[in-house]
Symmetry: C2
């Protein structure tokens, strides 16, 4: 049952998360006060901390949500599919561009990208982003354990797989953001990264 209560809560959370990201990309991390975020989301400052225990956590929340979806996506891949193929697909599914950004006028879009880059570079945020990734990784490990019939408590295998997969995505995204001009499409980079990991990252011929 989806009561009004739950829905409103989800909406407030989303509004706060979005406002936090939006304002930060726009003005920079420490030109945004919690008060501003709360106001933009139409809620009292005190309420902010009922949803997030820090400014950084709010900003990382969308990253967390997206990352968690990878685990969910893996669970929905057909059982017959080989593990690494399923992981690759599950990861790729998360990289369709969202509507908020898609429906953004072109001049603003350039500034948006710049702002997001600055945001990702902000040291004060990296820890929280990584923490979110770690939470999602745990979820992914659980999904891998289910799929492969291994045991989280006794086998390192599912956690190793989850960690390697997360690393593949992270490296691909980083490569995408770093390479300036017309970068290779993110889909190709992710596929490539997963391919290398699944191949055991053999030393390239000198």
């Amino acid at each position: 049952m989806t009561g009004l209560r739950e829905r409103k809560k989800a909406e407030t959370r989303a509004a706060l998360g979005w406002a936090a990201i939006h304002l930060t990309a726009e003005r920079g991390y420490d030109n945004v006060r919690v008060e501003d975020i709360a106001e933009a989301a139409g809620v009292s400052p005190r309420t902010f901390n009922n949803y997030f225990s820090s400014k950084a956590e709010a900003i990382a929340s969308r990253h967390l949500d997206r990352s968690l979806r990878t685990a969910a996506a893996l669970r929905e891949r057909p059982a017959g599919e080989p593990l690494w193929a399923a992981l690759t697909r599950a990861a790729l599914e998360q990289f369709t561009r969202g509507p908020e950004v898609e429906a953004m006028p072109s001049p603003a879009h350039a500034q948006w990208v710049t702002g997001v880059r600055a945001m990702l570079a902000e040291p004060a945020l990296q820890g929280e982003r990584l923490r979110a990734a770690a939470v999602a990784e745990a979820e992914l490990a659980a999904a891998v354990a289910e799929r492969t019939g291994t045991d989280l408590a006794t086998d390192m295998y599912p956690r190793l797989v989850a960690a390697a997969a997360s690393a593949a995505v992270a490296v691909a995204v980083r490569h995408y953001l770093d390479s300036a001009d017309p970068p290779a499409p993110i889909e190709r980079l992710i596929t490539d990264a997963f391919g290398q990991v699944a191949a055991g990252l053999p030393e390239p011929p000198g």
Copy 2:
């Protein structure tokens, strides 16, 4: 040249880092104020923030130093050694027990372990730990790039290797800490984890 200046600075940094860890393991994260750490290190509270920009960073500093040593160790492995063998050795070298802990009376040792476990579980610290790991991972990637003659700017390979290696160590350590009673020796777990990663983490036979 190692002037008095540099040495004192290194000493102060070490003293602050150690005091931060020690007090936190003893009393718990938020029963330790910055003032306490500074006092334990024999330095003014204001000086604390000349060395670390947050309490969490101070606590994670030793983790950072240790992790950075892995990259240095890799650079010192013989050039002929296969990459993954060299990585495994470099990682293993970091896990010889330090003297401060070794020379600790047995009754205190038990409490120490408990305190450290609680410290590692503290959410407010995980982000900073992960951030330290990320910094070290970057350094490791650079070392891998050198050794394999690949290019950080154009190839995902060195970063993928560094990330996979870091993940292997992290998973092994976690497994070691999680499994209670008489756990498998950490050396075996690390070797095993590296072996699986280098083999491409093949799906186990159902």
